[in-house]
């Protein structure tokens, strides 16, 4: 039998891609052959052409769309506006990404937490939310043995759980204690925030919302609670966050480490 089965099937003519659709020819031929063996050659072949274009569609669009390397997403948090008892950002993150209420509180994930600061000399206290700082030079990415820890082109640091083996090196490497390990089996996760046992997770800067053109859940919640958080593109001189960073003194936590976090604090 020839590769394309041109005789007797009466269907291979153009659809199965004999020479015409070179990139996906192998897939097309395989499917056509299987359909021929199953006695449904004609049907399969007529429907094959759109399939070939379908796969090509996914690839070409991927290059056109996706994370923009010209951008650098970041946060600016004004500590003077962050109330001590307020946990609006933490609650919003829990609801959005579904990491609330584990079986064991000691092992619960923490994508974002409120940290209390106190100057021992003056006694002044401050409260600040701390999450993944989305470093430009992330140590978690450096140490990851599988390439699961990754930085997107637009500066968002993520765990690709398809590759994560749960070794937790990144948790050791992170100066901000931003990552958590999932100890228990989970069910009914949020479709936009997959998370599962045996993998490490952290703040994704609500990557699913950012890709839709929205601000992260914590920022949206804070806007109504205290208005301490500002989200935007640090690389765009016209953006509100870039203007603020350029005009007022802001700090990166442990800026001395040289990892260049994308999250900045004001009045810290």
């Amino acid at each position: 039998m020839s590769g394309c089965g041109t005789d007797k099937t009466g269907g291979c003519g153009g659809g199965c891609g004999c020479g015409s659709a070179a990139p996906s020819a192998e897939t097309a031929i395989d499917a056509g052959r299987r359909a021929f063996l199953g006695g449904a050659g004609a049907v399969a072949v007529t429907t094959l052409a759109p399939t070939v274009t379908l796969i090509a569609y996914g690839t070409s669009e991927a290059q056109a769309a996706g994370a923009d390397p010209a951008k650098r997403w970041g946060l600016l948090i004004d500590i003077s506006k962050c109330a001590d008892g307020c946990t609006a950002c933490v609650t919003a993150c829990k609801t959005e990404n579904g990491w609330e209420g584990g079986a064991d509180n000691q092992q619960d994930s923490q994508w974002i937490r409120k940290v209390s600061l106190r100057d021992p000399k003056s006694g002044v206290t401050r409260s600040a939310p701390v999450m993944c700082q989305h470093c430009a030079l992330p140590p978690c990415v450096d140490v990851c043995p599988t390439g699961a820890s990754m930085k997107r082109a637009d500066g968002i640091v993520l765990v690709d759980k398809h590759r994560c083996i749960g070794c937790r090196y990144c948790m050791m490497a992170c100066p901000y204690k931003a990552r958590s390990f999932v100890h228990h089996e989970l069910e009914d996760q949020k479709p936009w925030a997959p998370r599962g046992v045996g993998t490490v997770e952290s703040c994704t800067l609500c990557v699913h919302r950012v890709d839709r053109g929205e601000a992260p859940a914590c920022v949206s919640a804070c806007a109504t609670a205290g208005g301490a958080m500002l989200f935007g593109d640090l690389n765009d001189p016209g953006s509100e966050i870039a203007k603020a960073v350029a005009s007022v003194p802001t700090k990166q936590i442990r800026g001395d480490l040289g990892v260049d976090p994308g999250v900045r604090y004001r009045n810290l």
Partner: protein, 157 residues
């Protein structure tokens, strides 16, 4: 001596081959009759590709989608696990969507039969969140399909 032992080995080999073949054929037919073909639940909506393509290539499509989505941030691919889960959601007797724990689940129907373990659902939800999100996803996927159809019309040689 050597030639005789060689002949004996050959005979033994042939005998093994023959009886092995017979046993194999017998068990083969026994398997066919003993294990029922999987009952594949019907899906709602329009699939991204014909069934014979999906049966063979769904894993490749999902892998491709997961990599471009997570690593490149491309959200425009029409094929995605959430869309699959939405169209192929199965309801139990009480009208609730079944999770991967149920043998009725669409993915399990075939994967149990083929004895292929999938670990997608250790992280991904195996059923739509609610009826409402399922409807929304249906609407979104039909918009995707319209775009896909338009693209196919434009680029077809």
């Amino acid at each position: 001596m050597t030639r005789r032992s060689n002949l004996a080995t050959l005979l033994l080999f042939l005998a093994t081959l023959f009886t092995g073949g017979l046993v194999g054929a017998a068990t083969g037919s026994a398997i066919e009759s003993a294990v029922a073909a999987p009952a594949i639940p019907k899906a709602e909506g329009q699939c991204v590709a014909p069934p014979e393509v999906m049966r063979r290539s769904h894993m490749t499509m999902l892998k491709h989608t997961r990599d471009v989505t997570v690593r490149e941030g491309d959200r425009k691919t029409a094929e995605g696990l959430t869309a699959c889960i939405t169209c192929h959601a199965v309801k139990d007797a009480s009208g609730a969507f079944v999770s991967i724990k149920s043998p009725q689940h669409f993915c399990r129907a075939c994967h149990d039969y083929a004895a292929v373990k999938v670990d997608c659902f250790e992280c991904h939800a195996s059923r739509p969140l609610t009826e409402k999100t399922a409807e929304a996803a249906h609407a979104a996927s039909s918009a995707d399909l319209a775009a896909l159809a338009a693209f196919a019309r434009e680029t077809r040689p």
